[in-house]
Symmetry: D2
Subunit: 418 residues, 4 copies
């Protein structure tokens, strides 16, 4: 999978690729078939390994068959049955009791788990990098800017602490999403009637309960959380989407500062240099802040995708929806891959960010009269203008304590993640 129009896309590797989703769908069918056999519902002869039944070219050809039924599960089941030998027991028992949505939703949750894991790795690296920058620059004075204009002095380490707090918020929400990723298992109408009927036909004692136990087994086999069917209650998807957007929100906010502060007229930050990075097709002198440009791109796109997932949730209808479900898949994939790309780029950016502390200080010194105007105004209030700080370092407020608090939170996150 390559995407010429989303530079950096290959950083997401095989997360949510067609091939990865197919693999995940096969894993769901496999786990279900095995569960049926193990529960004594399907005969031992139905046991089969689905691994290796698909060839790489299937990922190219199968999508074209997905339109007829409106989703890719139907042609996948047909293909697997054909490969299993259509009169084999495995073929006959494959997918029995499931509905397409069970398989695709669960497969997407598996892909999402890989994505969450990947992004959490990046977040940890970013938190570590930012904690280092924050501690190192807790006394590096720069001009604090509000509404683009010089405001009061701030240590650069406070700025990075704020970036860090945004990342920790995102990590917290992503963690909560990751541990709650559910399987989807409801059968055609979300009643588990198919599984229960299969259990009844197999003379199970309490078929309704057996069907629920199959849910637990499937969840355990796939490492997901057992949960009632959520065919039309899309909270798992919107919560995941919200957490992913929270990541790109944090990256966008960082990128905006890097883009501003690496302007040549400001020159307080620079992106990590790497041969060939940031070049232009026509201007030999150019070193563009490409990582930040691409992060900003992701941050501008993600809110729309998150909103798309909410709209799909709000538009659910009946026992399974008539389009609202279908619009969700691609939005989730785009959001997941793009966030993973952004996470990787952000790690590289933060690990190698170049800070020009001298220039920060010089700019702030030159603007000192403005940056200390508030201080003078407060001193006048107390009738002691002499008490106004004369140097920028004397007007940094409680930043040391604020920085400590964020660093402590980061340390706790990094340890917990250990």
């Amino acid at each position: 999978m390559t995407d010429l129009l989303w530079p950096g896309d290959e950083r997401a590797g095989d997360l949510f690729t067609d091939a990865a989703i197919l693999r995940a769908m096969v894993a769901v069918e496999q786990a279900w078939l095995s569960a049926l056999v193990e529960a004594g519902i399907a005969p031992p002869e139905a046991r089969a390994s689905l691994t290796g039944l698909l060839t790489p070219s299937d990922a190219d050809e199968l999508p074209a068959d997905a339109e007829a039924g409106g989703n890719p599960v139907i042609p996948l089941v047909a293909l697997l049955r054909e490969r299993l030998g259509s009169d084999s027991d495995a073929s006959r028992w494959l997918h029995r009791g499931l509905t397409s949505q069970d398989v695709l939703d669960t497969a997407l949750m598996l892909c999402l788990r890989d994505t969450v894991d990947r992004i959490q790795d990046e977040l940890r690296a970013q938190a570590a990098a930012l904690a280092g920058l924050t501690d190192r620059h807790r006394a590096t004075v720069m001009s604090g800017r509000t509404l683009t204009q010089h405001a009061v002095p701030v240590p650069f380490g406070l700025k990075t602490a704020t970036w860090l707090a945004g990342l920790l918020d995102a990590a917290e929400d992503l963690e909560a999403v990751g541990v709650r990723l559910p399987i989807q298992l409801g059968g055609a109408g979300g009643t588990l009637a198919g599984p229960a009927q299969l259990a009844r036909l197999a003379r199970a004692g309490a078929p309704e309960r057996t069907a629920l136990e199959l849910t637990d087994q499937l969840a355990a086999a796939l490492g997901l959380r057992p949960t009632p069917p959520w065919h039309t209650n899309r909270t798992p998807v919107t919560r995941a989407g919200d957490a992913l957007v929270r990541c790109t929100d944090a990256y966008g906010r960082i990128a905006n500062d890097v883009l501003t502060l690496s302007r040549p007229e400001i020159g307080e930050l620079a992106e990590p240099t790497r041969s060939g990075r940031g070049g232009s097709s026509t201007m030999p002198q150019k070193v563009n802040p490409v990582l930040s440009v691409l992060l900003r791109r992701a941050a501008l796109a993600a809110p729309g995708l998150g909103g798309q997932l909410h709209l799909a949730a709000a538009e659910a209808r009946d026992e399974r929806p008539d389009g609202a479900w279908h619009v969700e898949w691609s939005a989730l994939r785009l959001l997941a891959r793009r966030t993973a790309v952004a996470a990787s780029q952000a790690t590289e950016l933060l690990a190698g960010l170049q800070v020009d502390a001298d220039r920060m200080r010089a700019t702030a010194e030159a603007a000192a009269p403005d940056l200390l105007a508030e201080a003078r105004s407060l001193a006048e209030l107390s009738g002691e203008p002499a008490a106004a700080p004369r140097d920028l370092g004397g007007y940094l407020g409680s930043t040391d304590l604020l920085v400590d608090a964020v660093l402590e939170r980061a340390a706790s996150y990094l340890k917990g993640a250990g």
Copy 2:
């Protein structure tokens, strides 16, 4: 505040009205002024009650003065100072150490708290109503519909259990938001330099720590959570937005079913009747499902507003942003009020929803051959077509257990909320 173009708007009462926001801003200024006096930073003479300084007409006139500085805090402070007598101590100490964003962000959090409380009340009423419907209709068979077509039989109580699960998810997230609503207190650049400077001028022992303690006192006085400044880390806002949209997602999903099932050709549900409700300007026979229409409206609008808040978060920049902050206020207000309106309408809808169980059963019976096609297909698999259920009630799967699980969750929520 009335809104001719958002029928039902008055259900939100004074949540987030201009007047309510002004009151909340005054409450923030009051709490801060008192904290300064109590900490011995401002002189006792600066103690003043701001309550009653504003008149109702201020809410009409003040907005026009908000443009010059780009926010409504600046003219409010000017007005309060004028009313306090511009050479009074209270006037001189008012707002000292704060920045506009501290006041407005905190005021919006206060308004948000009221909104969350209001919506939680509605959610509890809805959960109770839905728990009742769910239990009552756990055996009411209807046609389960997927992609608009007859699928398998489902009990109506399973449908309402799914609605209920969506509401409980939203309630859970809203609860998490409610208990974490933070104050905003950072001063001009998020450093607390102003408060620390004031403490220093007052000869406080550890002015940096005193400034932080003022944060705690302000938070305690206002009933919000103390937290580091979040001028450019907008997680509190996006989390609130996401939770509110999760509410309208759940309402939209319910409304879609009511709209579908109350079509005259289906006739399985009807909205509660009330004199004058649902009428037309020209067709005397009309009884339109107006509550559902208006809920659906809200659900179609909310995702865009939630996305707007994320975009604003992603576009933060510098120590305080150059437009991204300003675009957030109105989006948050619209989302909050509209969700409150929808919540109130949803309560009325669910409390009075009319269920035609006979028609549900009749339609399902007529469609029985279709609704049991899967059952027959599974029976054939086991070689025992005789084992296929002959009646719809025999193919309801594990719905009783699924319903129990959701009811238990609802009971726990309702008790916890006690």
Copy 3:
């Protein structure tokens, strides 16, 4: 109407206020009643003036009655009938043949017309201001910046020409919208059955044709375009929305440049100064670029509103929709008012924009080696490094001709608008 959370809102005056919409709805009812009388369908006794029947307080009270039927037309008609005397002929004939959507859609088109007119006035003023700047600065050299970094020299007048081109595009689309604003007249199901029936009852010769002629008369009376009913074909609304967003796109693009170039480290542009403008609640030195901040705010919000209108269009259903119509009204109003506010602010910004040509030149001179790197590279290609321009003015390409082309287009627009 004031909006504390959208500073500058009062610039939109009474465009799309509740009162204005009520007036417009009354104007529609009036025109229709008169048309019925003039066509001999309603008796002469039904002639009545509706002007003055509403009092200012109605705008406060009527909205609360809009929920029952889901729109504000129903209570308005009830109120007008009551004020006309419920057994008067005028009361009996009022609104006959119309449906709520006819009245509200047409009223919104009337409000939209006022908005388009207002914004076109602003666009003309902006085009004139920008044409002046463009001509004046066609040789003012500055650093051209791409991806935030120095690229090649550009005249400031080329930048303003690009701004101008964006405004002319928006003006062109807005003009096209303005001349096509339609009435809505279809009756309950878009068939004109009501009007035709009334004509038939009045013994009109060709009642079906008479009904269509009434459409033409209503359109002529209101100054709108006659058109087939568009109850569920919302092109008039989405086209208007797209054109309005095109305006804020252009303003946002300008504001971004002003915000960047008025940073103190760059200092090439400054907003027009006005006493009290751009101040801070705590920092006495501050002069924030507030107009640009507020323009940027509008530009960040508008795309979501435009998308909302498209979603509403896509979600139309049946002969009149079940929520998609209802979500449109408020989005259209917000988009219209906010664009009008932005237009007014943009005029003020552009009319008073301060250009520091010396600083532009100084910065560009200092960056000359970078800005001429491409020139040198091209000269090397031809084997004549000596031919590389040594000064920035020698590397401005065809900007003079490009500027002429845009100025010509602006002149033609301004003349046409005469």
Copy 4:
């Protein structure tokens, strides 16, 4: 290119595929190189055919190199130069005077032209199909439904006429976009300094004018419109986006009616049947309205993509933007391909739509008392209840004339498109 998660994607063929975009970029480079040679700027030895230089595997490998410079043009130029022999004249002159954005923007316009052409073909087929349905069913009475409830009788042909009007609006806007698709040619800073410098080095008489003439030649060679640079004035992109969304708006509106009216309880419409279409993975009886489901999906997704393009336009900055440009490409591609897919599906749907006129009539007859309630109410007004229509056909208003008007418009469109 396959997309497992957007069933039907293969209908878009190679529109906007990575390979197609690469081909288009090569075509731009080719046309520019040839123009340089023909203008005597580059030496005759620089003439070269770029066709065939790229191999199919390049489309897989090149994207990974796009990240370093932030766009795919830089690695493409490097690759072409390598293939041309790095010390060849063609290699040295390739891309000279252009900037990456010139090449990519122009290439995207070429892809857009193919998309517009494709969709226009579909729109013509749809218009023809709908004109046929409209004429055939101008007297087919059905229940008109508003807010989901029976309203007044309408002919099915009026419903299709409304669908048709939406398509004609979209076609009109798409036509306007298609004839205005511009080339992008501005060089590094939009000044044409590179081309002018090349002309000067080649001793061209009026190098600034020559550069502009090169624009005309490039436009002529590529079949696009010559225009001033629009690097930061994205009207061409947003206008295209708006027109594409207008298409999916129209398809969504149609799909909603088909989904509603093909519900088994209503049964007035059915999708065209085709073996295997609409099946379920578990329910043998199922025939789902898959085309409409997938159209609805597209309509729910498109407004967000259109809004994304506007946001990108509003976020332009400097002479070329720092992320806003980069976010545009993928949104445009997704919108273009998905609209093309939807267009193809809509043609199939409309060409084979099954209309059950008997059931329409039967349902309407059964609801006649309701459907004629307005008629009776109007008759009472005139004091002649006897004059109320007793049958549905007598209360169809001016639909015949309304239908004629739309059919005339369609005929004119189809003839013009000839």
